[in-house]
């Protein structure tokens, strides 16, 4: 794992290898759809149309890209301190539940104040959730990848418990759901677009965390920890503090995704929150080589593939799970391309 391509040599390599992996994945997917009885070239065209073919499909794509940017940060940031965290789904769900709870305890408060409180609640809850995985790693030596994965299941179970019990709104019958946060408290759409404010949050979060990692004292320390813990200790850096804070920020990003899913889309917590944004976010982070800035275009790309899922089913008679198959193929090919870094002499800089 080598987060942040950084310097010129790494930059070309970090662009070409993931692009190549993406191309290989699409070819493999083409073979898959051919077996399913569809014309691969036609399917590629459909993907393009469904994702980027019109203003309508662009808006659909951006809408899906927004939470992906935030959940991708949940993997990309811990990678800077050398941790592989895959708990974005859980942090999103916990952030959403905290958002609903916060709105519920502030009845009669002016909406801007409620929105601010919901933001803090969502981010704080998501941050603590991932910091828990970081803490287990630092203090108890528990593998953070496994613990963050398991925390996903715990988060989802916790939400299911709450929306079928203590937080249930009995007026909703078709699916157990929590109370609504209240129409005045919804944050709505970006003016002039059919895309909610989550997109702005996502882009800003990516830019801010990139500056944090690349241009601040904190980020420098975090990257030393991620690059070589032994060297960080020799420099006297407090490894645990840097790792925990980074995990908190990562979880806060995913929690923010949960907050926008509530305050801009659903209005209430329910099982529709568990839409796989957390898992696709892992994919985005890996494709972006864990670089927060690269997360933005990659999230848009994968958001587009998700957005074209409906068209693929309808036009080519492909099964429901087709989008999952694309996602799985891309993930496997990306992981398989990991050992290729440093193998191509063309990318190597000559040094003495």
């Amino acid at each position: 794992m080598r987060p942040l391509g950084g310097k010129p040599r790494g930059a070309a390599e970090a662009l070409i290898i993931p692009a190549g992996a993406l191309a290989v994945s699409l070819i493999l997917f083409g073979i898959f759809v051919a077996f399913a009885g569809a014309n691969p070239l036609a399917v590629y065209r459909t993907i393009y149309r469904g994702a980027f073919g019109s203003w309508f499909s662009w808006q659909n794509t951006l809408q899906r890209a927004a939470p992906l940017m935030l959940t991708a940060l949940c993997t990309a940031l811990p990678a800077q301190v050398g941790l592989i965290v895959i708990g974005g789904e859980g942090a999103l769900v916990i952030g959403a539940v905290a958002t609903v709870a916060m709105a519920a305890v502030l009845p009669g408060v002016p909406p801007p104040a409620v929105v601010a409180a919901m933001l803090l609640a969502g981010m704080g809850a998501g941050g603590l959730w991932i910091a828990l995985a970081g803490g287990l790693r630092h203090y108890r030596g528990v593998n953070e990848t496994i613990s963050s994965l398991l925390l996903n299941y715990i988060a989802i179970a916790l939400m299911n418990h709450l929306v079928t019990g203590p937080m249930r709104d009995p007026a909703i019958v078709h699916r157990p759901s929590s109370w609504h946060v209240g129409e005045p408290n919804m944050i709505g759409l970006i003016p002039g677009m059919d895309v909610h404010w989550g997109l702005v949050f996502g882009v800003v979060a990516c830019a801010v965390t990139w500056v944090l990692m690349e241009h601040t004292v904190f980020g420098f320390g975090a990257r030393v920890v991620g690059g070589n813990t032994r060297a960080a200790r020799i420099a006297g850096l407090s490894v645990g503090r840097l790792a925990l804070i980074t995990c908190f920020i990562a979880g806060a990003a995913a929690g923010l995704a949960g907050m926008t899913e509530i305050a801009a889309v659903h209005g209430r917590a329910s099982s529709s929150l568990v839409a796989g944004y957390g898992y696709t976010g892992i994919l985005v982070a890996f494709l972006a080589r864990q670089n927060p800035l690269a997360v933005i275009p990659v999230a848009i790309l994968l958001g587009g593939i998700e957005a074209s899922g409906g068209l693929m089913q309808r036009w080519h008679d492909l099964p429901d799970a087709t989008v999952l198959v694309v996602r799985g193929i891309i993930f496997l090919v990306i992981l398989a391309s990991e050992p290729l870094y440093g193998r191509f002499r063309i990318f190597q800089q000559r040094t003495a």
Partner: protein, 528 residues
């Protein structure tokens, strides 16, 4: 140069014992010739047309700096590498060797720098394991008798029933050699066989091997970079430099100076820095009954008490694995101590960044790429490690000043002559000597009150070693208190003012360097 052949073990007395009768049962070694060996790795020419003749019954040293191509040459002989050109001729017959198995079949065996024994098995079982033709069912009785016979006329005395894990390093090395002899290898290639041994153990083993070659039972080709061993034990020597033949000849006709010149060529060597006379400086660093556990949770450092004064180098000698690594890790902040205290300037010290800064504590660690650098971060960033969070390398309180960081790096790169294409190159692309120079620039360019150094010259070539030792001495002369942990006794005798020996986690011996005696220090290192 002190000749220490035999190390006082009475080898010469025993040497006469194996004469005719033994040599008859064991076929004499054949003459081994390597002709025109060439090996390229990509654009790098690792070996350029090297020829070498190992006469039957000779003790031949293959001398050279790190990266000179010594290991590549023997790996070509053993069949690990396929040479691009060149042949191996054994007893006048050209041979194709495709792997170590072929080499063994021809009676060529190799002893590696690091042990290849199974620690939980006995010596006898390890010897048995070396046989290529082990039957499905082992007749332990017959094998046992055969082994007793074999060991009887070997000069190496090792308890066959002892588990290998209970043996000292010197004994293990003997078992490695016995293993090769047991499978009838009469041409023995040794790769830096003494790097894990005390001087006494090294001299004993090399003395025994020397006697076996004298008796015509064995030919030895020994890779080394220690001039002393070549002068004391070898008959002939071949010197490589950057893949080329730099010289060869009979050892008796050469001086250590000749050999050193062949090894390093015309590259200039920094003169040793003068040791400035220091009056008793103030105490800077003190360890009080310090204890620490290793990774497995066993006590590795026990009750170490020690102090270092300003302007003094205290050397810690010891065979590797006696707790030095853990001790250094505690002082460097990489490991928690389990008991005891460390004080610097009389204040408790726990290796936090604030304390390091306040007390000006710095560290030269062994294997710097593993311990002290981030290989994927740039040279400029690595050089900024100690000061990235304080002016002038910051903008405001929170932001990095990349420009200032780069300028500071360029300055250090020039002053410390680090060879690198640009300050933005990743540290991982630097050669070993340049990595150590980079760390040196970072740690020693400012004011230093306390320096912890652990094998700072390990694996570097002679020129780099001389330069780094001179820098350490200069830091001492400027008044730094230096704790130098090293496995290289020459280094300790050159640099230290005071020497302590660490054995089994404990400090067992202390002496002023002026009155120190190599043999005594060696005995304490071995735990006697």
């Amino acid at each position: 140069m002190i000749k220490m052949r035999g190390g006082g073990v009475g080898v010469s007395a025993r040497a006469g014992r194996f004469g005719g009768s033994v040599a008859e049962t064991n076929a004499a070694p054949q003459r081994l010739q390597v002709a025109g060996m060439t090996k390229r790795f990509g654009s790098l020419v690792a070996l350029d047309d090297i020829s070498l003749t190992l006469e039957a019954g000779a003790f031949h040293a293959l001398l050279g700096e790190n990266g000179a191509g010594k290991s590549t040459l023997v790996k070509c002989v053993m069949g690990y590498h396929a040479p691009d050109k060149g042949t191996v001729i054994l007893g006048g017959v050209e041979q194709t060797i495709r792997g170590p198995r072929d080499a063994h079949a021809l009676g060529i065996g190799m002893v590696y720098q690091h042990f290849t024994l199974v620690p939980s098995m006995t010596v006898a079982e390890n010897l048995l394991l070396a046989r290529a033709d082990l039957p499905m069912v082992i007749d332990r009785g017959a094998e046992g008798r055969r082994m007793q016979e074999f060991v009887k006329d070997m000069p190496f005395k090792v308890d066959l029933t002892a588990p290998v894990s209970a043996l000292a390093a010197g004994e293990k090395q003997k078992v490695e050699i016995l293993k090769q002899l047991y499978v009838d290898c009469r041409i023995l290639i040794l790769d830096e066989p003494t790097s894990v041994l005390t001087p006494g153990e090294a001299d004993e083993i090399l003395g025994l091997l020397h006697d076996m070659t004298m008796a015509g039972r064995l030919s030895v080709l020994m890779i080394t970079h220690k001039l002393r061993e070549v002068m004391a034990f070898a008959d002939e020597v071949t010197v490589l430099r950057r893949g080329r033949l730099a010289g060869r000849g009979k050892v008796e006709k050469l001086t250590p100076r000749d050999l050193a010149e062949m090894m390093i060529g015309s590259s200039e060597i920094a003169a040793p820095a003068e040791r400035a006379v220091q009056t008793n400086g103030r105490e800077r660093l003190r360890l009080e009954r310090l204890c620490a556990d290793n990774d497995k949770g066993h006590r590795a450092v026990s009750n170490v008490s020690l102090f270092v004064r300003a302007g003094e180098i205290v050397g810690i000698a010891g065979v590797s694995g006696n707790g030095q690594t853990e001790l250094v890790e505690v002082l460097a902040g990489q490991r928690e101590s389990s008991a005891g205290t460390v004080t610097v300037h009389g204040e408790p010290y726990t290796a936090t960044r604030a304390e390091m800064r306040r007390h000006k504590v710095f560290c030269l660690s062994e294997d710097p790429l593993r311990n002290a650098c981030v290989s994927r971060m740039s040279v400029a960033e690595n050089l900024a490690y100690r000061r990235f969070d304080e002016p002038p390398l910051t903008l405001g309180r929170w932001f990095l000043n990349r420009g200032a960081m780069r300028r500071a790096a360029s300055d250090l790169i020039t002053r410390y002559r680090i060879t690198v294409s640009s300050p933005d190159a990743p540290a991982g692309t630097l050669s070993g000597g340049n990595v150590q120079r980079m760390v040196l620039a970072r740690e020693l360019s400012g004011e230093v009150d306390v320096l912890i150094a652990a094998n700072p010259c390990f694996g570097l070539d002679i020129a780099a070693v001389a330069e780094i030792r001179a820098q350490i001495m200069r830091a001492r002369n400027r008044g730094a208190a230096i704790l130098l942990v090293s496995e290289d006794l020459d280094e300790l005798f050159e640099l230290a003012d005071r020497l302590v020996v660490m054995f089994n986690g404990d400090l067992v011996y202390e002496t002023e360097i002026a009155g120190a005696d190599l043999a005594t220090v060696g005995r304490y290192m071995a735990g006697h």
